[in-house]
């Protein structure tokens, strides 16, 4: 039933046994229910052990888990009256970035997310969450509209990075990302970002230049993928595990470094094991963040957003 990761083998075996038992017809001899609950207890214990001490590389795999809830799943459950808006008005509609109007807890918002797609067809349609310039330009358009109507902006980040392709370069990938960051820093409305899966490089930064940046417990956020880093700095793609450690890309590390405001806890065994629980927690966290920002004047919001980033990593500046 699940897609198991390499390090989840013992869990997979136990859950396999539970599946088998459930398919047995009770002949009265064996108390199946008892046996199942005993095994389930073992599974939970194993999950707690495994997920209590995940390595950065294991977290990377969970962040990219095929069953992990994506941007559209959060939008489906958290945003009422979601009205997707398409296109950059210049070249194309880029489905790697989804966005539109909707209501969050009763109030109108603009929501923008990088979407990886859930199945093969969806992944191709959404280009695996790798946006082209038109995606970032659509995001700019939506943010500017939010600004005009004084709507808070929520961004959901889950991308391996911006798309590296000839067409993307021809249409100004770098400029589109730069402009998107610039737009984030011009807004006079609250901007809250949640790194829900993979926060990949400039493609993530483009949407995460926010007042509040939240991050899921097993999400990652990095300047480069561990694989890319390993192949460049170690000249050995096999060193991804080591690179993942060195890059300090886990939510825990990033909280310590002052890159994010808070970590949103995931259900035992990762967001994909209980998407509903995860979606509810993300909803709570966004509501909390927006509550704090909602009372602030537009100019103050913009100034604080800029100050937030100017402070990062600066020992001397306050």
């Amino acid at each position: 039933m699940h897609n198991y990761l390499d390090f989840e083998k013992p869990i997979a075996e136990l859950e396999g046994k539970i599946e088998e038992l459930r398919h047995l017809t009770s002949d009265g001899e064996l108390n199946i229910a008892d046996e199942v609950s005993k095994l389930q207890g073992k599974v939970d214990k194993l999950l707690r052990q495994t997920y209590g001490k995940l390595s950065p590389w294991q977290k990377t795999q969970i962040a990219r888990h095929p069953d992990r809830p994506h941007a559209v799943h959060y939008i489906e459950t958290l945003i009422e009256d979601f009205t997707p808006l398409a296109g950059d008005r210049a070249f194309a509609e880029d489905r790697a970035i989804v966005g539109g109007l909707g209501r969050f807890r009763g109030s109108s918002v603009v929501v923008i997310g990088t979407e990886k797609g859930a199945d093969t067809e969806g992944r191709v349609a959404h280009n695996f969450g790798m946006a082209r310039p038109e995606g970032y330009r659509k995001a700019i358009r939506l943010m500017e509209m939010a600004d005009r109507f004084k709507l808070p902006v929520i961004t959901l980040v889950d991308t391996p990075g911006a798309y590296p392709g000839v067409d993307a370069e021809a249409r100004g990938q770098a400029e589109a990302i730069a402009r998107c960051i610039e737009t984030c820093f011009s807004l006079k409305v609250p901007l809250v970002s949640v790194i829900i899966g993979e926060g990949g490089s400039g493609g993530a930064m483009a949407l995460a230049s926010a007042n509040t940046v939240l991050m899921l417990e097993h999400a990652i956020y990095s300047v480069i993928s561990p694989e890319g880093c390993a192949s460049i700095l170690w000249r050995d793609g096999e060193q991804s595990k080591v690179a993942a450690e060195a890059l300090k890309l886990t939510a825990e590390d990033l909280l310590k470094l002052g890159i994010i405001e808070a970590i949103i806890a995931e259900p035992l065994g990762g967001a994909h094991r209980s998407p509903e629980t995860m979606q509810a927690s993300v909803g709570e966290a966004i509501a909390g963040a927006l509550k704090g920002l909602g009372a602030l004047d537009g100019g103050v919001l913009r100034t604080r957003r800029r100050e937030r980033f100017l402070k990062i990593g600066s020992a001397a500046r306050d």
């Binding site: 590296p164 984030c184 820093f185 400039g202 890159i259």
Partner: protein, 304 residues
């Protein structure tokens, strides 16, 4: 034997043979046309190959010298930032790489910030030096750009930025990524102050540097032949598994695709900048002259 050092070409040098007092680096092979160029010929030609016009990379100090009036400028001391925030180590320690880069270049980090006059106008210039860890952007570069922006605002001067960088400095992990946001804010401050922000894109301008401050210029000037783009050519080739188009990501390609305002030869760069800045800040000099004349304070000659 100065005569020999100065004009004997390498081939001849080989014929003469055994001249140990002629260091090899006096002659440099052009990476484009493979002709050998004498170092002084390159210096006198702004490091542009006299044979094919190929623009070699320029150090930050040479860049500043060629831009400011009489080559005179004051570089500002940049605030020391946290070194090696992640305690990063790949095959080597990041601190060792830094030490090596410092001793090789004599620089503290990849960015130099200077102010001085250009065509008589006070300007702030921030230039990246590719020879310092590929001009990569970490906390120090980010801090430097913020300082450059603040200096421009204090001096009410245009800011000119000259990137030459492969992108983010991976050894600073997420903190290098954050510089994309921080340098963008620096640019915003300059723009909010109503001051011109001019970018001179030089070889190479890629990755996190191109996707932030480098692509936000009021006017974007690309130097002839410079590689400018977001993703590296190798990464793109691996992704699409086909050969890249001729001239891909070169300055001229960006001009054709509407991504820069102009492509300028290094020899014309200073004059172009002076003209552009003059047009942006000295918006009606003729009107000033008229106002002065009308005020009855005498002729223009008397004014000086």
């Amino acid at each position: 034997m100065n005569w020999l050092k100065n004009i004997v070409r390498p081939k001849l040098k080989q014929l003469v043979g055994g001249q140990k007092d002629i260091p090899d680096n006096l002659w440099q092979k052009c990476p484009n046309c493979a002709e050998m160029n004498f170092h002084r010929d390159l210096e006198n030609n702004f490091q542009v190959c006299p044979h094919c016009g190929h623009h070699l990379r320029l150090s930050a100090s040479d860049r500043l010298k060629m831009l400011f009036d009489e080559g005179e400028y004051q570089s500002i001391e940049l605030m020391a930032s946290e070194i090696d925030p992640l305690k990063f180590r790949d095959r080597r320690k990041y601190t060792d790489r830094l030490k090596e880069a410092k001793s090789k270049t004599g620089l503290e980090d990849a960015l130099t910030v200077a102010h001085g006059r250009m065509g008589g106008i006070n300007v702030v210039v921030a230039a990246l030096d590719f020879s310092f860890m590929g001009g990569s952007m970490g906390v120090a570069v980010g801090e430097g750009l913020i300082s450059a922006a603040r200096l421009a605002i204090v001096q009410d001067a245009p800011l000119i930025v000259v990137p030459s960088s492969g992108g983010a400095r991976m050894q600073e992990g997420i903190l290098s990524l954050m510089q994309m946001a921080r340098t963008t804010i620096a640019v915003e401050e300059v723009k909010d102050a109503g001051l011109p922000y001019i970018v001179v894109l030089t070889d190479p301008t890629t990755g996190g540097v191109s996707a932030s401050f480098a692509m936000l210029g009021d006017v974007a000037i690309a130097e002839t032949g410079a590689v400018i783009g977001f993703a590296g050519a190798r990464v793109i080739e691996q992704t699409i598994r086909e050969k890249l188009p001729e001239g891909f990501q070169r300055a001229e390609y960006l001009l054709d695709h509407g991504m820069v305002d102009m492509v300028v030869r290094r020899h014309d760069l200073r004059a172009t900048l002076i003209r552009v800045i003059g047009l942006l800040i000295n918006t009606s000099p003729a009107a000033d002259v008229l106002a002065i004349s009308a005020s009855g304070r005498g002729s223009l000659e008397d004014e000086s």
